[in-house]
Amino acid sequence: MAEELKRLGLHDLHLELGGKMVPFAGYEMPVQYPAGVMQEHLHTRAAAGLFDVSHMGQVILRPKGSMAELAAALEALMPVDVLGLAEGRQRYGLLLTPAGGIIDDLMFANRGDHFFVVVNASRKEVDIAHLTEKLAGVAEVLPVTDRALLALQGPQAEAVLSAHVPVAAMRFMDVAVLPSAFGELWISRSGYTGEDGFEISVPNSGVEAFARALLADRRVLAIGLGARDSLRLEAGLCLYGHDMDEGVTPVEAGLGWAIPKVRRTGGARAAGFPGWESVLGDFEGHLSETRVGLRPEGRAPMREGTTIYDGDRRVGSITSGGFGPSVGAPIAMARLKIDVTAPGTQLTGEVRGKRLPVTVCTLPFHPTTYKR
């Protein structure tokens, strides 16, 4: 049964800007504005793009006891370093099933007396239920429903945002809570485009004035979901439900980098997270497939679901694919059998009945410009 689509706080502004609205994760979302996906994408890389990502889940985890106890409980759910995360810093995390499959990927920040978590829109109900169950006794899981979330991304993002709040001293993955004319802003220096930039949680009451103030700056263009997808694909970043899901372990999804030494075999706090036997086994020669970049030859984009062959052997399929506006060519990510994942390996992808050449390449397709 089709559920009624939810509307964003900025719905009327999206329509005013000429946004073409489409259903996404239960929300009516702008897929593009009149500038179009190509221009929106290139503008973000050249200046600054404003994204409404208010559909994503914002959650506060407030410890019932100590922060250390809550951090330890989170380490029992995710294969990452939570105990070592300093106040004012954010990290990428993964919630795992008992088999080591990915329930969701998320960002979590240490804000002194609590953690602030941002999760995928399509998974927020699952995540909140999971966290509420697993953290019962150590934390209150409090969904934040009175705030919108905007992302300002691109080389001019710092200059634009600095007109409203002092963010120039922040580094990649720093978080700050700053007063502003639009209410208290919860800011992280991060995003999902491969560019330097910020994600900004703003009270619903102030979001429209804030968005209008940012858009009044000539360097800023409103960007829809279409360009958000092409930007993250060029940056080699995974999209939940496409490049990963509950049937895929972190290393299979090409996210082994997110698991630090301290949680791997031989580390001081090795294992102790759901599915650790399988996940750590992936580092020790048991991995059968993993995510790679692919460059199709020619101009034909290869979309999600395209089957990849090594000669006549089926070796996997594309999990995200399309055209990279900054690359100027089709690009794709695929999960492939481990023996064909070396960069430079020549394979084929089947498009409309024809096998077309593709080459395995390293990620990202477009260099990232995070301010470290």
């Binding site: 179009g36 996906v37 279409g226 101009r299």
Partner: protein
């Protein structure tokens, strides 16, 4: 100029029918990044998928509007797919079709009828 419900335009040029997509269709597709054209001298039947167009967002097809023979294709679109967005009703024609009887064009919409369709 005549129009199909699939948002193609048809223009008579001597004995041939030139086929392209409307400005409305080009706008809906978004930025076109890839065009695959049929071979010339191909016989096609109405409804056959003869052209593949891919935009940044998605793939779509152009169908043969009438039975006939493809006698020319616009190779410029292969090298410069963006032409489809820049000049959809002019320079960005896709193929020329030789058909038995130009009178069948009377069955297609005129400009007023098409504008009503896209409202």
């Amino acid at each position: 100029m005549k129009y199909t419900k699939d948002h193609e335009w048809l223009r008579v040029e001597g004995e041939l029918v030139v086929v392209g997509i409307t400005e409305h269709a080009a706008t809906q597709l978004g930025d076109v990044v890839f065009v695959e054209l049929p071979e010339v001298e191909t016989m096609v039947a109405e409804g056959d998928e003869v052209v593949v167009i891919e935009s940044v967002k998605a793939a779509s097809d152009i169908l043969a509007p009438i039975d006939g023979e493809i006698v020319a294709v616009n190779g410029k679109l292969v090298d410069n797919p963006a032409l489809v967005n820049e000049d959809p009703t002019g320079a960005a024609w896709f193929f020329k079709l030789k058909i038995d009887d130009l009178a069948v064009l009377d069955d297609f919409m005129d400009e007023d009828e098409y504008n009503e369709l896209i409202g």
